[in-house]
């Protein structure tokens, strides 16, 4: 599954006390298949655990998932924690980020202000997140990936 491009490491986890595991399981598979080295911290991951893993694995990206509607509280101060640990990674968040049916643009603004580089809703395909990360890390897709995407 690992592609022959230079491997970049992404740290993946569900923040707070959220136990929704399906999304990150699929993300793990998708990012692995796309050639990334994936460190999956699983559900109920604390801000500190994210930071620690990012340092240990020298991660290029930290991908945070949240599906139970309390993402905003769970992410307060998260970028401070990352900074304190000298983590200099791209940060994404995705999932059901707000309880109720707020406009997503409002939600996006909120999480951008918290410091995330990109914000995705729960309908996002893993491919979109991968394409975005490739752009942000300036990686071009491999031959085989291109073939898959256009087939």
């Amino acid at each position: 599954m690992v592609s022959d491009t230079m491997s970049q490491t992404v740290v993946l986890g569900v923040i707070g006390s959220d136990a929704h595991v399906v999304g990150i399981t699929i993300l793990e598979q998708a990012f692995s298949a796309a050639g990334f080295d994936v460190v999956n911290l699983g559900v109920q991951t604390s801000q500190e655990e994210f930071a620690e893993a990012a340092v240990t694995h020298d991660a290029e990206a930290v991908l945070v998932s949240s599906l139970y509607g309390h993402a905003e509280q769970d992410c307060q101060g998260f970028h401070g924690v990352l900074e304190d640990a000298d983590v200099d990674a791209v940060t994404y968040i995705g999932g059901n980020l707000a309880v109720g049916q707020d406009e997503f643009e409002q939600t996006r603004r909120t999480f951008r202000e918290l410091g995330f580089d990109r914000v995705f809703d729960s309908e996002t395909d893993p491919e979109d997140a991968i394409a975005a990360l490739r752009e942000d890390l300036q990686i071009s897709p491999t031959e085989s990936e291109r073939a898959t995407i256009t087939s």
């Binding site: 136990a19 595991v21 898959t148």
Partner: protein, 477 residues
Amino acid sequence: MIRDERIPSDELRRIDEEIRSNWPTGADVDFEDAIEYHESLPDHKRFADVLESADKPLLQPRAGVPRLDDQIELLQYLLEEGQADLLPTTIDSYTRDNEYEKAQQGLDKALETGDDTLNGFPAVNHGVDGCRELIDAVDAPIEVRHGTPDARLLAAITFAGGFQSFEGGPISYNIPYTKRHGLEETIEKWQFVDRLAGAYTERGVRINREPFGPLTGTLVPPSIAIAVMLVEGKLAATQGVRSITLGYGQVGNVVQDVAALNALKKLGNEYLPDEVVVTTVFHEWMGGFPPDEARANGVISLGGMTAAIAQPDKVITKSPQEFQGVPTKEANSAGLRTTRQVIDMAIEQKIDIDGIEEEQDLIERETRCLMDTIFEHGDGDVVQGTLKAFDSGALDVPFAPSDSARGAVLPARDDDGRVRIFEWADLAMDDDIKEIHRARLSQRADTEGRDQSFRMVADDVDAISDGKLIGRPQGDV
């Protein structure tokens, strides 16, 4: 080293006293008084007897609210308007985390404001008398449903409070529910729960125990679910439980679901000791529901149809409001009545579908592989075998949030919509069985003109909520 052995009486008493001291209401539990209370209950409130003597599937919803009077009203409504046969009392999340202080705050606030500040009934806080008030007020058997890794105090209080059925188990209430509770720890705690149920059973009060079959509720291959049921059934039997209801969650393919329920019943009777009465429960689809009550009714009805064919002893129903979370009592009743109508219209029909026996045979062979590996890992001891098999990945549950399971196995549907295993990881399975799965998934890949990949898994997870069974590629692939 923890093993599959019955807790001695003095140890039972010691733990019982210890856990009852964790919260004030624990002090009100008196075993002899509890036996007397159970003996005073009329026949139609004896859970095991009602369930085991039924001649067609009994229907049971899910329901729990914080206040006692509201819970009584809710259950009476589900009994009268929903025509439920069996009733639940679903416990709140704080109690599941043994946070009785927080549950008390929630309950106090609920009593003060009238709002449902907890997502269930805090039975420990209501105590023995509160539970008995509920049992007395509602004219049907009631089961405790929760999701508690350490359910010892909850069991002590609800058993003494007159409940005669208790859902859960050390694997099924650990792996899908929590990240960090060790499996060894939950096995030890559930041995006490089962031993306590066994103590009642010895005195003629048969407490029904129901391992939670759907596990993570997300495309769980039948054999994995059944193996977990057999392990939990065996553990309960060792502690003296004599009425065990093994569970299974609908995957949506009728042939596979009927075959799985048949296999569950057959293997349950085979693996569990003769003195245990084995019954089965079928959970209507536990995965994501369509965000549309009309479509949700279709999902519920397919469950009813499956139940009419397989005839499990019990069906746990869903409501058309499943998508949005806790349903109103009206929607909960509607789910019961829709299921009832389908079952009652279909159950007298002879509907023998081709291929059920072959599928059942495959499920049985897979389950035996898993049971064999458990026995081997434990040198014949089921507890050690389970711990070591989960540790090695020889036993695994897909999409498990728990650190106690690898969660490395990945399922996907085949071209007929049956759940197969796409990624085996280290699951202990004979090669010829793996080959069957591979061939079935390859057939699907051909149909769809794409490679087997995690995309199928992802598409399948969302398929039913998107209105289909199989997550086929949409539009141009």
